[in-house]
C-alpha cells in the first residue's frame, strides 16, 4: 500500500512537471485537482510542495484556489519553501479583482508560519481599508489568524481600536467579523466591551445581519447591562419579532437574552416564559430532527424553571413513529416532566403504548417513565401499577424485565403495592434473560416475599441453577434475598441458605460475592439476632429516581451544556475565545470557592481541597509512595478500624459519582485497595479502602461515603504525620469527579 501511494505521488510529480501538461490549462487543472483529491483522502502529498507552488502562478482562478488550499494544509511542514509563495500572494493581494485580493489575504493569513508574518502585515493593514467589503471582512479575520501566531503585532499595530472603529462599517458581514475578531483578540481582557451606544446600534441594525450574525449579536448583548428596567423593556420590544424567526438559532439566542434582560423584573420574567412557549412549540413541529432535538433539550431546561408551562401542551411531546430514537427518548423525558394531575392519565396511556416500540431503548424508557410518574404523583400510582402489570402478559423479554425493575423502584415508595405484583412474579422469571430484571425480581421477593407461599421455592429453583448463572447482580441479590427470607421463614430456607453460602464461599471466584457471603456467614455464626438487624434493617429510603436536576444549567442556555446535560466546566478546556457563557458561569464558580472556604473554616488545618485546587502548593506536600501489593484480611481491617484513632473526617463536593467499579479500578492503579463496598444501586455508596506506605509500612484505612453530590471521607492511620499525604494522594486519584 505505502509503496503504491509513493509511486502515485511520484507519478503526480512528473505530471505536474511535464511541460506539455503545463501548457494545457485544462489538463494542468485536472492534475492539481487530483492532488487535492489525494489530500482529502488523507494521503500525504506534501512532497509535491514546490511543484504546487509553481502551479499557483496561474491566471486560472480555480487552480489558484486549489493550490492555496494545499498550501494552508502543508505550509507548516515546509516553512522554508512556503516563503516562495509569498511573492505570488502579495501580488494577488493587490490584484484589481476584489475576489482575488480577498482570496490572497485569506490564504496568506492561513499559512500559520512565524517567518512570513513580516510579509503579511502590510497587506492586511491595507486590506482593512479596502473599498471592497469582501476584502475588508477577510482582512478582519486575517487579523485574528495573525493574533494566534503573533499577538504582539496585533497589539503593536493597535488593530483592536481599528476594529472598534470598523464596527460602523456599512457592510453587516464586516461588522460581524469585527465582533468575532474583537472577542478573540481581547479575550484576556474579557472580550469586546458592549457600551450602551454599541448595544443600541447593534439592536437597530439587527435585521441587516445574516441569521448567523443575528445569533452572534444576540449572544454578545448578554454582556450588556441595561441602565434601568425601562431600557430593558425597550430592548424586549425591539427584538420581539426575532422570536418568530425561522432559524432556531436566532430564536434560542433571543430567548436567552430575554431571560437575561428581565432577571431583575420578576413579573416580566415570568411573562417571558409564556411569550416563548408558542415559538418553541412551532419550532418543534418542523425542521430537521437534529435541531428538534436541541429544541427539546432547551424546553427541558425551561421546565426546570417553570414546571407547569407546558402542562396543557403535553401532546406536543408524543413522539412520531419516524422520529429517530434520540428524539423519541428526549420526548419521553419531557412527558415525564410535564405530567401532573390534570394530564397524567393521558400520558400514561400513551406511554404504555410506547412500551412496545421496536427500539428496545425507547420501549424500556417508556416503562421507566411510567414508574417516574407514579412516584411523582401519588394519586395515580395505582393506575400506573395496573398499566405496568398489564404489560407482563405480552411476554416480551425486555418489556417484562423493565416492568419488574420499575416495580422494584415503585415499591420503595409505595410498599403496599407489593400485593399486586407478588402473584405475578413466578411466571416472569422464566421469560427474563437480563440481569437487572431478574435481580430486581429477587430483590422484591427478599423484601416482601413472606406473604407469598411459594417465594422460598422460587428462590430455591434459582439457587439450584446458580452454577449456570452468569450475572453477578443476580447472584448478589439472590444472596441478600435468601438471607432476608431466612429470617422470615427459617424452616423452609435454612437448608438452601446453607447451600448457597457454601457455593459462594467455596466455588465462586468473584471477590465481591465471596466477601459478602463470608460476611453473612460470620454474622450468622456470631450473633443471629444482630445479623437479622443488619440484614433486614430498614433501608427503604426513597430518593427520586431522576437525581440530577437540570436547573443549574439554565444559566448556560443555548450552549452545548444544555445538550450534554453537563456544566461546561466538564467538557470545555479551551477558554479562548472568551465566550459569554464563561461570564455567566463565574458567579457559580465563585460559589464553589465559597463552599471551599466554608469547608476550610470548619477545619482550617485540613483544607486539602484548597491545596489540591492550587497546583503550586501541591508540590509543598510531598508525594506518598504506597506499597503496590498491600495485604490485609477483612478481620485485620476490622481490628485496625476499631483500634486506630480518627485523624481526619471531612466532606468534599463531588461533580458526579461514577460507578464503583470505575472507582475501584482507578484506585487500584494508584495502589489503594478496596476491601468492601456497597452495590452500585444503593442510594448511599460506601467503600472501605486500604493503603500501606511502601517503606514505613504504615497503614491507612479510609471509609468513603458518597451520596448526592457529596463525599464524606473518614481516615484512620498508624502514623498521623503521613495522613495528609495519603489523603491528598486519594483525592488526586479521584479528582476527575470532584
Amino acid at each position: 500500500m505505502a509503496s503504491d501511494k509513493k509511486s502515485e505521488v511520484g507519478e503526480l510529480r512528473s505530471l505536474l512537471r511535464s511541460i506539455e501538461i503545463q501548457r494545457d490549462p485544462a489538463q494542468y487543472q485536472q492534475v492539481v485537482q487530483k492532488v487535492i483529491a489525494y489530500m482529502t483522502l488523507g494521503v500525504d502529498v506534501s512532497p509535491l510542495f514546490s511543484e504546487m507552488i509553481m502551479a499557483g502562478a496561474t491566471q486560472n482562478i480555480v487552480q489558484k484556489k486549489m493550490v492555496y488550499l494545499y498550501l494552508s494544509t502543508y505550509a507548516e511542514r515546509n516553512s522554508e519553501l512556503a516563503l516562495l509563495t509569498i511573492n505570488t500572494l502579495r501580488k494577488d493581494a493587490s490584484d484589481r479583482n476584489p475576489t482575488i485580493r480577498g482570496l490572497a489575504l485569506r490564504s496568506m493569513s492561513s499559512l500559520r508560519l512565524p517567518n512570513v508574518i513580516e510579509y503579511i502585515e502590510s497587506p492586511l493593514q491595507s486590506g482593512l481599508t479596502d473599498k471592497s467589503p469582501y476584502v475588508r471582512r477577510t482582512a478582519v479575520m486575517g487579523v485574528v489568524k495573525l493574533y494566534y501566531i503573533a499577538p504582539d503585532i496585533v497589539s503593536d499595530m493597535k488593530w483592536s481600536s481599528v476594529l472598534y472603529d470598523m464596527l460602523r462599517d456599512d457592510d453587516p458581514l464586516v461588522v460581524c467579523n469585527c465582533l468575532s475578531a474583537l472577542e478573540e483578540i481581547l479575550a484576556n481582557d474579557g472580550g469586546i466591551v458592549i457600551s450602551k451606544k454599541l448595544a443600541h446600534y447593534l439592536i437597530n441594525r439587527i435585521r441587516d445581519f445574516s441569521e448567523w450574525g443575528q445569533c452572534q449579536v444576540l449572544q454578545l448583548l448578554l454582556k450588556y447591562n441595561c441602565t434601568d428596567d425601562e431600557e430593558a423593556l425597550e430592548i424586549l420590544n425591539a427584538l420581539d419579532d426575532r422570536l418568530k424567526h425561522v432559524m432556531v438559532g436566532v430564536v434560542m439566542a433571543t430567548i436567552r437574552l430575554f431571560f437575561h434582560l428581565t432577571e431583575s423584573m420578576p413579573e416580566v420574567y415570568h411573562d417571558v416564559f409564556e411569550r416563548v412557549k408558542t415559538p418553541l412549540l412551532t419550532l418543534l413541529g418542523s425542521g430537521p430532527s437534529e435541531v428538534i432535538y436541541v429544541v427539546l433539550q432547551h424546553i427541558e431546561i425551561i421546565l426546570s424553571q417553570n414546571s407547569t408551562l407546558f402542562s396543557s401542551d403535553y401532546h406536543n411531546f408524543y413522539y412520531r413513529f419516524n422520529d429517530p430514537p434520540y428524539v423519541k427518548l428526549k420526548k419521553l423525558d419531557l412527558l415525564t416532566q410535564v405530567s401532573d394531575d390534570s394530564n397524567s392519565k393521558d400520558i400514561i396511556q400513551e406511554l404504555s403504548e410506547c412500551a412496545t416500540d421496536v427500539n428496545v431503548g425507547v420501549s424500556q424508557k417508556s416503562i421507566h417513565a411510567i414508574g417516574l410518574i407514579s412516584v411523582k404523583l401519588p394519586d395515580i400510582a395505582n393506575y400506573c401499577v395496573d398499566r405496568l402489570l398489564a404489560l407482563i402478559p405480552m411476554e416480551i423479554e425486555h418489556v417484562t424485565s423493565e416492568v419488574i425493575t420499575t416495580m422494584s423502584n415503585i415499591l420503595r415508595k409505595y410498599e403496599n403495592t407489593h400485593e399486586l405484583i407478588l402473584p405475578r412474579l413466578n411466571s416472569c422469571y422464566a421469560t427474563m434473560t437480563s440481569g437487572s430484571g431478574r435481580g430486581s425480581l429477587i430483590w422484591i421477593l427478599g423484601e416482601y416475599g413472606e406473604s407469598l407461599d411459594e417465594s422460598p421455592y422460587i428462590l430455591e429453583d434459582i439457587i439450584n441453577n446458580i452454577s449456570g448463572e452468569s450475572s453477578l447482580e443476580v447472584k448478589l441479590q439472590l444472596l441478600s434475598a435468601t438471607m432476608k427470607m431466612f429470617f422470615k421463614r427459617p424452616p423452609e430456607c435454612q437448608e438452601m441458605l446453607g447451600r448457597l453460602l457454601e457455593y459462594c464461599i467455596e466455588e465462586e471466584t468473584d471477590m465481591l460475592l465471596r466477601d459478602r457471603a463470608l460476611l453473612y456467614y460470620r454474622l450468622l455464626k456470631k450473633d443471629v439476632a444482630a445479623a437479622k438487624k443488619i440484614v433486614c434493617g430498614s433501608q427503604k429510603v426513597y430518593s427520586h429516581l431522576s437525581t440530577h436536576s437540570k436547573g443549574s444549567l439554565f444559566s448556560e442556555f443555548n450552549t452545548l451544556s444544555v445538550v450534554y446535560g453537563q456544566s461546561s466546566a466538564e467538557f470545555i478546556h479551551q477558554s479562548i475565545p472568551y465566550t459569554s457563557s464563561a461570564v455567566l458561569r463565574s458567579p457559580e464558580r465563585r460559589m464553589n470557592e465559597m463552599d471551599q472556604l466554608l469547608i476550610s473554616k470548619e477545619e482550617p488545618e485540613e483544607s486539602l481541597l484548597d491545596i489540591l485546587a492550587s497546583k503550586e502548593s501541591v508540590s509543598t506536600v510531598p508525594h506518598i509512595l504506597l506499597n503496590p501489593t498491600p495485604v490485609i484480611t477483612a478481620s485485620e481491617y476490622e481490628q485496625y478500624w476499631k483500634s486506630l484513632p480518627l485523624v481526619s473526617q471531612d466532606n468534599y463536593p463531588m461533580r458526579y459519582i461514577p460507578s464503583l467499579k470505575t472507582l475501584q479500578d482507578l484506585l487500584s492503579k494508584r495502589f489503594i485497595t478496596t476491601l468492601a463496598c456497597s452495590g452500585d444501586l444503593a442510594d448511599v455508596k460506601k467503600m472501605y479502602l486500604y493503603g500501606q506506605h511502601v517503606s514505613t509500612l504504615d497503614r491507612f484505612l479510609l471509609e468513603v461515603v458518597m451520596a448526592a453530590n457529596k463525599m464524606e471521607v473518614l481516615l484512620k492511620c498508624t502514623n498521623d504525620k503521613l495522613y495528609k499525604q495519603f489523603l491528598l494522594h486519594y483525592l488526586e486519584t479521584i479528582s476527575d469527579y470532584m
Partner: protein
C-alpha cells in the same frame, strides 16, 4: 465556530475535509465515524447530533446518507451550529443539483470553493446561494438532469427542480427562466384502536426554488380570510383557514400582510423556505384523508393468523392519494406470510429481518377502498402474539391537495419594477409525516 468541517459518505469515506483553525488533530473523521459505528452497533440507532469525544465536540447532521460534521472545542450555540451544517448541505444541493455521494465526488472542488467562502476561521460568512455565485468559479457537473420539457407542457416530473443552479453568465443563458413554488403540508395523525383521532396536526411550508437569475421579486397572495394565532382569532373571528402559528423568511416583505395577506420576496436562486406554519388540525382533518381498519383472527390451522387490513380514502372523489405504503408489523414468531391476490397497482413485500409486511398501492381515489388479507404461519402462539401487531402506519402523497385549505391566490414576478412572465410552477402537495393507526 467550527475548527473543522468535513463530509463523510455512509461508509465513512472522506468526501471533503476543511481545516479552519488548525487547533484540532487531523484524524477527527476517523474518530467520528468509529463513534457512530459503535453507537449504532450498541443502540441500533444514530446517536444524538452532538458528540463529546475527549473534549472535542462533533456536531453533525445526516442528509441523504451523508454526514456533514463540524468540529469544535468551544461551548457553541448548538442550534445555530447545526443550522450552519444544514445550510452547507443545502448549498451543496443547490450547486450540485442533487445531494448524494456521487454528486459530491464529481463536484468536490466546487464544494471546497463553497466551504472556503461559507466559513472563515470557523465563523459563518456568506451563506446565500445567490450571492455566493460571484465567488464560485467551478462549473457544477449535474448528475441527474431534469427531463427537457417544452414550455407548453402543463406538468413536470417532480424531479424537474433537482438541477444545479447556473453559476456563470454563459450557463445563465441556457438556464430556463422559471420558478417552482411548492406548498407542502405534512400530516401527523394518530388514531386509537377505537377509531378516535388521538392527535392530528399539519406542519406546512411554502418553498420556492427559483431559477430566475436572482433579480426577480416575487409577489404572492394567500387566502384573504386567513387567521393566524389564537389572539387573532379573537379579533378577526374564524376564517376559512386558521394557522396556529407561522414564521417567515428573513427577507420577506410583510408590509401588506396584515391587511390583505399579500407578501413579496426577492427571489434569490436556489431553494429557500418563504414561510412555515403549524395547524392544529382536529377540526380541519375531519374526516382524515385515509382510514385503516385492521382485523386479526385465528387462521384455519393451528398456529396461524389471518389479518385483514382495509384502507379507505375519505377525500372528495376528485382527489386521490399516490405512492401509498402501508406497514403492518407481524409477530416475531412468524415463519411465513402470504396474501390473497390484489388488484392492479397493488403489491406486497415481506421484510423478514424487520418482521414487517409492506403493502404498496400506486393510487387510491377518493371514496374508494382496498383490502389486503394476510395469512401468517407461526412457530408459536402465545397470549401476546396478536398484540405484537400493535400499530399500522402509512405513507402517502396527495398531489394537488392541501388539507388546511391554504391557497396561493396569485403569483406575480417583477424584475426591476416591471412585470415579467417566467414559467411558473405552483404545486400543492400533502405528505404523510407520521400517520399511525393503533390496532
Amino acid at each position: 465556530m467550527f475548527s473543522q468541517l468535513f463530509v463523510l459518505s455512509s461508509r465513512g469515506d472522506i468526501l471533503v475535509f476543511r481545516d479552519y483553525r488548525g487547533d484540532v488533530d487531523k484524524d477527527t473523521p476517523d474518530i467520528f465515524f468509529k463513534y457512530i459505528k459503535k453507537w449504532k452497533e450498541e443502540n441500533g440507532a444514530y446517536p444524538p447530533p452532538a458528540i463529546n469525544q475527549d473534549k472535542t465536540h462533533f456536531l453533525y447532521v445526516r442528509r441523504n446518507n451523508l454526514y456533514f460534521v463540524g468540529v469544535t472545542k468551544f461551548n457553541v450555540a448548538p442550534a445555530c451550529a447545526l443550522e450552519v451544517l444544514g445550510r452547507v448541505a443545502q448549498l451543496c444541493k443547490d450547486y450540485c443539483g442533487v445531494l448524494n455521494e456521487e454528486s459530491l465526488r464529481l463536484n468536490f472542488i466546487l464544494v471546497y470553493e463553497l466551504l472556503d467562502e461559507v466559513l472563515d476561521f470557523g465563523y459563518p460568512q456568506q451563506t446565500n446561494t445567490e450571492i455566493l455565485k460571484s465567488y464560485v468559479s467551478n462549473q457544477p457537473v449535474g448528475v441527474v438532469v431534469g427531463s427537457d420539457s417544452s414550455g407548453t407542457k402543463r406538468t413536470l416530473p417532480s424531479t424537474a427542480a433537482n438541477k444545479p443552479i447556473a453559476v456563470s453568465l454563459d450557463s445563465m443563458k441556457d438556464q430556463k427562466y422559471e420558478i417552482f413554488v411548492d406548498l407542502l403540508e405534512r400530516l401527523t395523525v394518530l388514531v386509537a384502536s377505537n377509531g378516535h383521532t388521538l392527535r392530528s396536526h399539519i406542519d406546512g411550508s411554502l418553498v420556492m426554488r427559483s431559477f430566475l437569475g436572482g433579480n426577480a421579486e416575487v409577489h404572492l397572495g394567500l387566502n384573504t380570510d386567513l387567521v393566524i394565532g389564537r389572539e387573532e382569532r379573537m379579533v378577526r373571528g374564524t376564517g376559512s383557514v386558521v394557522l396556529e402559528d407561522c414564521s417567515f423568511h428573513e427577507k420577506a416583505n410583510l408590509t401588506d400582510f396584515d391587511r390583505d395577506r399579500n407578501l413579496s420576496i426577492g427571489a434569490q436562486d436556489g431553494e429557500f423556505t418563504v414561510m412555515k406554519y403549524r395547524v392544529a388540525a382536529s377540526d380541519i382533518l375531519n374526516p382524515i384523508p385515509f382510514r385503516i381498519f385492521t382485523n386479526i383472527e385465528d387462521g384455519q390451522f393451528p398456529r396461524s393468523l389471518r389479518i385483514t387490513v382495509r384502507i379507505k380514502c375519505e377525500m372528495p372523489v376528485k382527489s386521490s392519494g399516490t405512492n401509498i405504503v402501508v406497514r403492518i408489523p407481524v409477530p416475531k414468531t412468524t415463519i411465513s406470510v402470504s396474501s390473497e391476490p390484489l388488484g392492479a397497482g397493488s403489491s406486497t413485500e415481506y421484510r423478514e429481518p424487520d418482521k414487517m409486511y409492506i403493502w404498496k398501492l400506486k393510487k387510491l381515489e377518493g371514496g374508494n377502498e382496498e383490502q389486503l388479507v394476510m395469512k401468517l404461519n407461526l412457530s408459536e402462539v402465545t397470549k401476546a402474539t396478536k398484540k405484537e401487531v400493535n400499530s399500522v402506519s402509512m405513507e402517502f402523497e396527495i398531489p394537488m391537495y392541501i388539507c388546511s385549505g391554504l391557497q396561493i391566490r396569485f403569483l406575480r414576478i417583477f424584475e426591476k419594477g416591471r412585470p415579467v412572465s417566467p414559467y411558473r410552477w405552483v404545486r400543492y402537495i400533502t405528505h404523510s409525516d407520521s400517520y399511525v393507526f393503533r390496532v
